[in-house]
Amino acid sequence: MTDGMITLFLSAALFAIGSIGVAIRRNPLIMFMCIELMLNSANLALATFSRYYARIPETLPDSIELVASKDLGSASDGSIFVFLVMTIAAAEAVVGLAIIIAIFRTRKQVDADELAELKG
């Protein structure tokens, strides 16, 4: 098992645990935290791939040929993607928490099962 597999498996496990939390909890805050956990685990997988897959020609199997070497991108591309995802996650967290607080202010209680108006 190489170094990168540890973080890769960790990210898979974190994603699964986060999805358990989203499914079985009723407190929207904790559900939201679990969503953050899942986002973070996806980031971890992306960072791992960018770190251990960065210089692709050295890691490709022999049977695959590249069309042009300029398609590869540079080693920092994955880091930039992760950075952008982090920024979006921050915006998403703030908006989500504001929505939860707004719901709490009008309903005086927060329970994911009680909020079923959109069901029709």
Binding site: G4, L14, A23, R25, C34, S76, S79, A91
Partner: protein, 172 residues
């Protein structure tokens, strides 16, 4: 050495993730989430992705956790719903999540990762050059997204949304 450190931090991250999903109180979940994000930041540092580690600390463990803790204190949910779980979905949720985790594990185990040398010292320079060169439009796009989120939060947090239609905030 680094592999051993990674294993220890990974176990810590797993344990704190279980803490997030199964704590009875939201405050405990938030603190476990902080621990988890710190562990992931340490993993980034161990992978020699220094900028990502710093950004993870600042953005997640710093900014987002403050907002979460603030929300937890504002909401202060009633005691009777704290420990309640969604019993009807408990089995289904755990089963689906286990299936998902197993699928991810299988797919990930097929990845062929190589033990590459750590990026050299100039990787941060390369990062900055790419961020403000090749990826400058996505970067500016995030600025726009953050601005929209800011406006949305101000609107959502307003005391009475109807007052905005009448042309201004309420003075009470």
């Amino acid at each position: 050495m680094i592999t051993a450190a990674k294993c220890v931090v990974a176990v810590l991250a797993l344990a704190s993730a279980f803490g997030v999903a199964f704590s009875r109180q939201a405050v405990h979940s938030a603190l476990f989430l902080t621990c988890n994000l710190l562990c992931v930041a340490v993993l980034y540092l161990l992978m020699s992705l220094h900028f990502l580690g710093a950004a993870q600390l600042l953005v997640y463990a710093g900014a987002i956790m403050v907002v979460f803790l603030f929300a937890v204190t504002v909401l202060a949910p009633e005691d009777e719903m704290l420990g309640k779980w969604n019993d009807s979905y408990k089995l289904t949720g755990i089963a689906v999540a286990a299936l998902l985790g197993a699928c991810l594990m299988v797919v990930n185990s097929r990845a062929s990762l190589a033990d590459l040398a750590a990026p050299e010292q100039g990787s941060l320079k390369q990062f900055a050059t790419d961020l403000f060169g090749k990826f400058v439009f996505p970067f500016e796009g995030t600025a726009f997204v953050l601005l929209v989120a800011l406006i949305g939060v101000v609107l959502l947090g307003h005391r009475r949304l109807r007052d905005l239609d009448r042309g201004g905030p309420s003075r009470d």
